[in-house]
Amino acid sequence: MWKFFHHLTSPPHFYRLAATIIPWLAFPGLVLIAYGSYAGLFVAPEDYQQGDAYRIIYVHVPAAYVSIMAYVLMAVGGGCGLIWRLKLAHAVGAAAAPLGAAFTFLALATGSIWGRPMWGTWWEWGDPRLMSELIMLFLYFGYMALRAAIDETAKADKASAVLALVGVVNVVIVHYSVVWWNSLHQGPTLLKKGGPGMDADMLYPLLAMILGFTLVFGALLARRIRTEVLYRERRTRWVRELILAPGGGR
């Protein structure tokens, strides 16, 4: 088991394995997103309060979910990198940050566009859910800026991993902000006590979108980790052999 794990996390094996895995994540993911978008926009009934405006959840909720998942991955990668000195772990964090930032931006932007007609405001300073999600965007920016500021990869890995771990507190706050404090944002629908507060024909497209976003995120992440691995291993023999090999190793 450990041997298998070690084999898997060895850079050359991961580099090759990821190339075969990426299409298996990307295509099912895109199919799910296509189905979820179509069903969410045209098949699911309108909401009894929000009318058609609620259809924004089909992109807002998955984006917010992925923004949190990416952060957790980044922090876990940093933690594993610090403790076990796994080469691949730091690469995961470095690869996850820009994607996490993109999905956090998407969650904030779609939430804002939803908020205008429904709540009556684009943005409310001081709302705990809105503020903690914005802080998450800045944590991603801080992580990337820190990495960019330190030339030596090993030092950049350590410093950014510590930042990522410290910021985990914010992930907890994002999730519980609507429970602990008064917020304009409604409470959780899917993780509600007694099951999701949603009709089945509204729920299935949403679940498809969440799974689709997750798979597409996985594909993008795997792609970025490959690049990270290639760069970090640029002076090793396997990269040299890979590049000098007849077909190359793109």
């Binding site: 405006a53 259809r55 993008l220 690049t227 290639l230």
Partner: protein, 53 residues
């Protein structure tokens, strides 16, 4: 046509889906471009070393 109007919320709903498409396409494009750049840089360096030997 009526379905596209989204009961008066068309501008809000469609801009969200448009934004999602843009973010996904840009993320993919950026990942691809970065990989190409990194690969080419390493290729150039390794080929140069090969030629010197």
């Amino acid at each position: 046509m009526e379905a596209l109007g989204m009961g008066g919320y068309g501008a809000y709903v469609w801009s969200c889906y448009g934004l999602t498409l843009i973010v996904l396409v840009l993320s993919n494009w950026q990942a691809r471009a970065r990989h190409k750049r990194v690969y080419r840089d390493i290729e150039v360096r390794i080929k140069a070393l090969e030629d010197r030997q």
